[in-house]
């Protein structure tokens, strides 16, 4: 009795519009259909709301037009459009806490969704809207608080009219307006339809709550999405279905830049079960079918004669002889002294006058994102020629502009849906050759029906963009007491931003060098430089970006300097941070958290020999310090405990921060212990998790977190806990084994303990 359109997830035929049947908006639309009169209609999701919203105030500053963000339903639940994509970092909950605090509504009553592209949602203080750079909360905090306060003011105003009392006599309690004098109260849900017609007050007219009075900000409020995500109800791009949809699988050229020549067995493939059609795409072939498995089986059977690019090709080309090992050698030996990114004092003279000069070459590796959700995109052309897209993305407006550019459609005729992200870590920005949606658009056009393209895990490993590789030549100068007086780092690398734009910018790429630059240690003579070497690999942003590798490179070399100078690495860092109260406090805090600094090696209770390492990082406006304890087990590193003290200035949700630290520790351990994208003969050696190992549960460390609210300017949380983890581990291993660690991953070493 089943057919493709008759699964249990299909909600029914109530709206024959082809709305995706298992997306939460559908449920909202259905729910709203019955209660439209009782809802504070918001801008998006309902055509009426959109028209009203657009007519209302064209020039309103982003983050001030309440109806674009909030709907309050008769049952007092509050639907919030989040300017930031939820992908595991807990931003939906944080947004509900921030808005709820000022609106006076319990965050638990919120239903949060990713907002569509739109002027209203460009709420970041830097004039952007992206979910990245650990910027969401810190760059929208005052704006989102004010949004909640404006909504509260509108509800108060509506209540004043309803009760015919001066607004000054009214106050609020969570979810309702109260008139203390008469003992009357009205729920927000009841007031919402009336409040809708209120003009949005002047944004400057509302007063924000005193932080000492916060009920939800700063508290470990439970995440809003946990039950849905524990019961399979959360909907990701890969899950979205629309009526009449076909599905497609692709086979990409084995190397980037190659184009489709002849398809040798097209007839045979077309005759395979379930195949609707075979298509040629830029650098790929596709099979469209009713069912994805049929499409995948067929597309992998296609035999393509791939053609080398012509002379005039502008594509980044992966040559047939490219190998990561050879490229690392090239980076290590590339002539030149690089372009200055950060300088202080006079490094050359200081090195010349130093008591001891230490020179060493360190390196990082390419990495894949390896998020668990394989990328997908669903494209549908509607009867009126408009285009609708469902796809994972970290920047709706940028994607909308990209879609408009590629399709030639007016942005007003494009609707972009942004479902939950099944992990992202930087995977879903505009990456020319790593986006699925252009394929979905082309196929939908060619078959005249909606098409969802899913990349198999193998195709994802082939086309994912990589965290850059860098080889850094360090020189350090020590004085007679063993204190560092000079440090030079020349990083041979291409930064992710340079990689994405496929050329050098006018300025150096900060994302290539952050973590070598911006260190807080008082070394009087410094030179940090980049030696630009273009790679054929496609590059992208990876959780904590440049810091993900550069703090490893710097902090491990700093330990090498400490050892050469006969200094304890903890004491040396304290000395180099003298006068820096915030970081001294942080460093002492992590030592205290770990039971007092104890470098080892020492014998643990279970008889294993262990040592500890320490490292610091200052990424994305936050400060972090990590101590890791390791032993050697069967020639490989076991990390027992990670202690992390983190100071983001001020916080919104300590429970989510603790979860983010745990996650960042896991990814940091994965990077330092296991991960490496290896290319041989122009091809990635790994196309799945079998050959690209990521951290497994048995290699996870215990994690101990101390959050410090120093009151400094608010920093980020998603990425900052990561960068100090790999160097803390490597420093511990160097100490334990006596073998200096100058590269990742540690699985490349064979240790004896």
């Amino acid at each position: 009795m089943t057919n493709l359109a008759d699964g249990p997830a299909v909600a029914g035929e109530a709206l024959p519009t082809g709305e995706p049947t298992n997306i939460s908006r559908r449920r909202f639309l259905l729910a709203s259909a019955g209660v439209a009169a009782g809802a504070l209609v918001l801008g998006f999701g309902l055509p009426v709301g959109r028209a009203r919203a657009q007519g209302a105030a064209k020039a309103a500053a982003p983050g001030t037009r309440v109806p674009a963000f909030l709907e309050i339903r008769p049952d007092n639940t509050i639907r919030l459009q989040s300017p930031f994509m939820e992908g595991g970092q807990g931003i939906f909950t944080a947004m509900a806490q921030i808005v709820g605090e000022e609106l006076d509504a319990d965050p638990a009553t919120f239903v949060v969704e990713n907002a569509p592209p739109g002027h209203d949602y460009i709420v970041m203080s830097n004039g952007m809207r992206i979910t990245g750079g650990s910027m969401s909360v810190r760059m929208s905090y005052p704006t989102m608080r004010r949004l909640g306060a404006l909504a509260r003011r509108m509800l108060l105003q509506a209540a004043a009219e309803r009760l015919a009392v001066p607004v000054g006599q009214l106050t609020t309690e969570p979810g309702k307006v109260v008139h203390a004098a008469s003992g009357r109260s009205i729920s927000y849900g009841e007031l919402a339809p009336h409040a809708l017609d209120m003009p949005v007050p002047d944004p400057d007219s509302v007063k924000l709550r005193d932080p000492s009075q916060f009920r939800w900000i700063g508290k470990p409020v439970e995440r809003l999405d946990v039950h849905a995500k524990s019961t399979g109800k959360a909907v990701y791009a890969i899950d979205v279905r629309v009526e009449g949809m076909l599905q497609a699988a692709v086979q990409h050229a084995p190397r980037l830049g190659l184009t489709v020549g002849a398809i040798r067995n097209e007839g045979q493939v077309k005759a395979m079960k379930g195949v609707h059609s075979v298509h040629r795409l830029p650098g790929a072939v596709a099979v469209v079918a009713e069912r994805w498995w049929d499409a995948r089986r067929a597309v992998e059977a296609i035999q393509v004669d791939w053609r080398e690019p012509g002379q005039d090709s502008t594509l980044r080309y992966m040559p047939a002889d490219f190998s990561t090992d050879a490229f690392r050698e090239r980076l290590a030996n590339e002539p030149g002294s690089g372009d200055d990114a950060e300088t202080a004092g006079d490094v050359a003279s200081a090195l010349k006058g130093a008591h001891t000069v230490v020179g060493a070459t360190y390196h990082s590796q390419y990495l894949n994102h390896a998020q668990l959700e394989p990328p997908s995109a669903l494209a549908r052309f509607n009867a009126d020629g408009t285009l609708e897209l469902w796809m994972p993305n970290q920047a709706p407006e940028m994607f909308l502009a990209d879609v408009a550019k590629r399709t030639g459609l007016d942005p007003a005729r494009i609707t972009l849906h942004s479902p939950l992200l099944g992990g992202f870590f930087g995977r879903h920005f505009i990456y020319d050759t790593a986006m699925v949606y252009p394929q979905a658009v082309q196929l939908a056009k060619e078959v005249g029906r909606p098409v969802k393209v899913i990349w198999s895990r193998e195709e994802e490993f082939l086309r994912d963009v990589l965290r850059p590789m860098a080889v850094v030549r360090f020189r350090g100068g020590l004085d007679a007491q063993g204190m560092p007086v000079a440090l030079e780092a020349v990083s041979a690398t291409e930064g992710p931003t340079e990689g994405i734009s496929n050329k050098r910018g006018e300025k150096l790429d900060d994302s290539a060098l952050e973590g070598l630059t911006g260190k807080a240690y008082a070394i009087p003579n410094r030179r940090i430089a980049q030696l630009y070497v273009k790679t054929p690999a496609m590059l992208g942003y990876w959780r904590s970006v440049g810091n993900s590798m550069n703090d490893f490179l710097y902090e491990t070399f700093l330990d090498e300097l400490a050892d050469k100078g006969g200094q304890d690495p903890y004491e040396l860092r304290l000395r180099l941070l003298q006068g820096n109260e915030r970081l001294t406090h942080l460093l002492r805090a992590v030592a205290e958290l770990s039971g007092g600094w104890k470098r080892g090696p020492f014998t643990a209770e279970d008889g294993t020999r262990r040592a500890r390492g320490i490292a610091m990082a200052s990424p994305f406006g936050t400060q972090a310090a990590v101590i890791a304890e390791v032993s050697i087990e069967n020639g490989q590193v076991r990390v027992h405990d990670v202690w992390e003290a983190i100071d983001p200035g001020s916080i919104v949700n300590p429970a989510i921060i603790e979860a983010q630290v745990n996650g960042a520790v896991a990814l940091g351990l994965s990077q330092v212990l296991l991960e490496e994208t290896v290319y041989k003969k122009g091809m990635p050696a790994a196309r799945n998790y079998d050959m690209y190992p990521i951290l497994t549960p048995d290699r996870m460390a215990r994690v101990h977190v101390r959050i410090i609210e120093s009151g400094a300017k608010m920093g980020g949380i998603g990425e900052p806990p990561l960068p100090a983890v790999p160097p803390a581990v490597a420093n511990a291993v160097s100490r334990l084994t006596g073998q200096r660690i100058r590269g990742m991953p540690l699985s490349r070493y064979d240790f004896k303990a």
């Binding site: 995440r223 599905q247 069912r291 998790y689 951290l695």
Partner: protein
């Protein structure tokens, strides 16, 4: 071919060698079960067959015919599954959530077979990948469910007493889960990793 999923019977048209995962997701529209790797590496596709956890991405659908399949959609209809979900909420386990359907299924299967698993049992059973790094939260939730942890469980000698699911049946399902479906052009899945 008929499939029994979550207490309902479905007639499906897929070829016998189609992975169960794609029948569940595409043909039946039960999208709570996730595709992650297609090679039995990550466990995002875990379902229960006769109470034992199976990686549905490498299980041919005909191997599941006539057997009792449970997917995440029905997890709270199961007493143990309901407890697992409650523990997941209590410990605030998920981040992106994509692997969590599989994690919840793996934990449920473990507790069905061993109501009071030891640390070793937990480590052996909870092997699904999580890129967000929720491993410690998962471990805490399962320990919580194990009721007092390894020592108490060992003392009580409770391991292995899963009334609803005789061990023989579970073992058979586990063995079947190891059946590897060849994936064109790629190395076959490694063994191990089946909870």
């Amino acid at each position: 071919m008929e499939l029994q999923i979550n207490g309902k019977t479905y007639e499906v048209q897929a070829d016998a060698d189609t992975p169960l995962l794609w029948v569940i997701r595409d043909e039946l529209g039960l999208t709570g079960t996730k595709y992650g790797c297609g090679l039995a590496q990550c466990g995002a596709c875990s379902v229960l067959i006769d109470g034992a956890v199976v990686r549905s991405c490498v299980m041919p659908v005909d191997g599941a015919a006539g057997r009792k399949i449970t997917t995440i959609e029905a997890i709270e209809a199961d007493d143990i599954g309901k407890r697992v979900v409650a523990a997941w909420v209590r410990h605030q386990v998920p981040q992106c959530g994509y692997c969590q359907s599989g994690q919840v299924m793996a934990a449920t299967a473990l507790l069905k077979q061993k109501p009071h698993p030891t640390d070793q049992d937990i480590a052996a059973a909870m092997v699904n990948l999580c890129r967000c790094g929720t491993y410690n939260a998962i471990k805490a939730a399962v320990h919580d469910l194990a009721g007092g942890g390894a020592d108490q469980a060992a003392a009580a000698g409770a391991a292995g007493n899963a009334p609803q699911h005789p061990a023989g049946k579970a073992a058979a399902a586990g063995a079947l889960a190891l059946a590897v479906l060849g994936t064109p052009g790629h190395a076959p899945a490694r063994q191990g990793g089946e909870g």
